[in-house]
Assembly symmetry: C2
Homo-oligomer: 135 residues x 2
């Protein structure tokens, strides 16, 4: 338990009870999940509180977000040493069957050759298909 508090403190986030709860949900899921999904995990927690918690987490590089095209942004825990820079970019996978979104942290985003004078700053690469469970 202290474990989680340390993780937050390491990222300069005051470990309030709400934040610990949200963190635990993200930890438990081990996937990228939406604000709505997090909300469903609780009985009486306000959406905007979760929303602001996620913003805080993201600013401090505790989590990153993915837009998988389903309409809702999804969030997942970063690795301990993540700074959400180019090196930390990885491929995400949306299962067309179950709708779950996976972090493929071991699959880096390939950097394609761009036309002259277009610079690369970041990227969102979402692969869609069928996941191993739904196969």
């Amino acid at each position: 338990m202290k474990e989680i508090e340390k993780k937050l403190q390491f990222r300069n986030i005051k470990p309030t009870s709400m934040r610990l709860l949200v963190y635990k949900v993200l930890k438990k899921k081990q996937k990228a999940i939406s604000l709505y999904e997090i909300e469903q995990e609780f009985d009486n927690v306000d959406r905007s509180t979760i929303f602001r918690t996620l913003k805080t987490f993201q600013t401090k590089y505790l989590i990153h977000s993915v837009d998988d095209g389903t309409g809702a942004v999804k969030y997942a825990l970063c690795d301990d040493d993540c700074t959400c820079s180019l090196n930390d970019l990885h491929v995400h996978f949306l299962c067309n069957k179950c709708g779950q979104t996976f972090c493929f942290k071991e699959v880096p985003v390939p950097i394609p050759k761009l036309p002259e004078d277009f610079s690369f700053e970041s990227a969102n690469f979402v692969v869609k298909g069928i996941c191993s469970t739904c196969k």
Copy 2:
């Protein structure tokens, strides 16, 4: 002018005046643009009509869509021989400065090696940076 009508008919789309107008806007822009941007090009055209026009176009592979993370889906013309299959997938580029979204039709989406038992069906690859104009 007949030119455009033929393009629509070739895709089995009845070339109504609304549809010709929407097509012409997409043609003129030569970029991926949102429903809202298309709406702005006209004085008195209903949003839902444009919306349904785009759905029709997309179903018939006349256009494809990109979710670039800006909140609004963007649409761009397909090539004549496009069937929106794996071969037709290409990289899109969102300029962080001007917000415009470009189709890089000559840059195919790289297919990364996925973990065991995850299948590839399609992908959305959006690169973000500064475009050649904003540079």
